[in-house]
Subunit: 415 residues, 2 copies
Amino acid sequence: MKAEIVSVGTELLLGFLTDTNAPFLADQLAQLGIDNYWIAQIGDNQGRLTDHLRRAWERSDLIIITGGLGPTEDDVTRESISALLGEEMKVIPELETQLREFFGSRRLMMPESNIKQATLIPSAGAIPNPVGTAPGWWVEKDGKRIAAMPGVPREMLRMWEHEVKPRLRALSGDLTIFTRTLKVMGLGESAAEAAIKHLLAGTNPTIATYAKRDGTHIRISAKAEGEAKARALVDELEAKARLALGNTVYGEDEATFQGAIGRLLQARGLSVATIETASGGLLAHALGGVPDSAAAFRGGLVLDNAQLGEGAAPFLQGLDRETLRTHGPNSNEAAITLAQAARATFGAPIGVGICGEAAQQPADERPSGLIYLGLDFEGTVEAHRHVQQATPEQVKERAVMSALSLIWRRLQGET
Amino acid sequence: MKAEIVSVGTELLLGFLTDTNAPFLADQLAQLGIDNYWIAQIGDNQGRLTDHLRRAWERSDLIIITGGLGPTEDDVTRESISALLGEEMKVIPELETQLREFFGSRRLMMPESNIKQATLIPSAGAIPNPVGTAPGWWVEKDGKRIAAMPGVPREMLRMWEHEVKPRLRALSGDLTIFTRTLKVMGLGESAAEAAIKHLLAGTNPTIATYAKRDGTHIRISAKAEGEAKARALVDELEAKARLALGNTVYGEDEATFQGAIGRLLQARGLSVATIETASGGLLAHALGGVPDSAAAFRGGLVLDNAQLGEGAAPFLQGLDRETLRTHGPNSNEAAITLAQAARATFGAPIGVGICGEAAQQPADERPSGLIYLGLDFEGTVEAHRHVQQATPEQVKERAVMSALSLIWRRLQGET
């Protein structure tokens, strides 16, 4: 089944909004084993939308539309589908009753323009929308189908999960794509590819590598009749991949790196505390923002470089102020004593310190950062210096990933 | 001038990647006064891309393409443009030299497949790309134009700013759209709209309101011959809007709310310290991540709820442990004493405390959060309780905005 996705809204063409519906739906279609060949963003213009739908209707079996189902004159998705199929929109009494009840239950007057949200054409059925006023349209004609859903992500998401996806699953027969992503740390994309080279040739299941911010992703996909069979194919290839990748795999699918570390820490009864300057709280937020790592996170302190000077942060325990004076706040030595102070102040077995400058004076147009990472792992200390040409946001993000990697490697018994 | 945007890459059709190039370019085109009527994501397939370009070439004066300029067989943008125009790609010696130098300077072997990045067709000129291997193509034929840029956002961005945008600015004559966004806190979208109602009728300049995460945005746009004239029109309407909106305006365009607060704090010689549990470091990162607010940020502490129990965080000064025992860590009282402890521990005139639970047990499908905000502003304390049906991420983000709003209101002399 060939599909395409159409996102409707002039805001998308003006750059006011980023279309997040289309990539979500694209991923979902792939998982259903439905081939998605086109995505387009079209404005609130009936002529252009109808024109686009005409082409889509010719070349695809399924058109997924989001947006343009609102009550105003600008919302032209219903009108465009009607024009495409040459059918007339009529108010459906049952839908009108539901719509008036929706407003009534909220003690609101229904603007009369909303009545178009209670219309259908002969080839369309209404798709219930319990979280908004606009029902979707499910159109079937000449062996082709259109699913039109609201553009508001929350309403679209619910309608997709509860209404559209089940219908498509029934339609696409049992042919399912099942995908699992292994997440790897400490192997770059090309090294990961080399490690699984002997597995790359197959066509079903397939395996591929992607460089991501949280390491290298190894995506394994299989197509089969029914999810169980597809999953079995993935499981089999996954076992081989895990054998080749060893303990560089930290998790799969939705797993986060800090969550994986958190689980390891909890298993060993360990916890982490942090003190950071250059990363401005990003490390604390990374650890504190994920349940598994939050459980092993004793606490984090965010300071400005200036506060590492004379007599500052007097409540900090275990801080070697003499070292700070001698080596300055931007040094490996400072990073180590920050890690030590994190341990002592919060009473944690593992301390991490991040200092330096996320934004150095840019040379030759390119921004750069200088970061010092310190780790005190139950009394064993190490420090690392990273210079990076990148934006301050990237420098901070990489500093956090590097700091987490230090803990991860230590937990795995590497040094 | 009618334009359209084409983003090339099969990852976009599989939902692996969200297309952020297209909305950026859409916004830029709008600012240049160029009408953008279509955006599409097309896979790495020469047939479909050529087909799409053929239609775009018929209906538009300008096609902006990103992606598909890489060295592999999957990269088919050059081939598709060549097919569209019926012209043959040839290796250009000068481009080949540059390409080989790019690899040479990095002490890398150039894979021979990269040679296609040194090709042109008669209607195309190369667009320099100092930050990557692939030059862009600038195509002119029959009064129409194509700009093909790399898909990597960093490379695209540089090429757009330095090469493509200046050419388009020259082309689009002097008709320029100038836009300024005023950012407002403490007025919802409808209240903001009501305040500027008398300004809404005009067609040039125009003014419109948008509800955003960092308050309400008031977007003022004007079209005129030359940026100076367009800017003057915007300035005039902006003055009226500011009069109507009063001190709810915290900044414009790229301004952040925390940055605006930071400047006010610095102007008064004040600074802030924070202690947070439920928001897991997000407040510290918000304040520490923006230069203006970082300068007025004394420090932040991230703790887990468990650490607010008996005898925990012993280094904290000014913490009323008796209150914590009596009222528990999720209470207005806890939020206030956290704010007090932030002041005392970091020696700051203003302290903020955030506690509660970002993720409560979800009732009826909807996740919810319960947040307590405390403010100690030079000894005057206040606390607020917020219950929200939202994801934990949203709950945390809103908690941070609410905490910042408390400081903002106090700085403005409201209570």
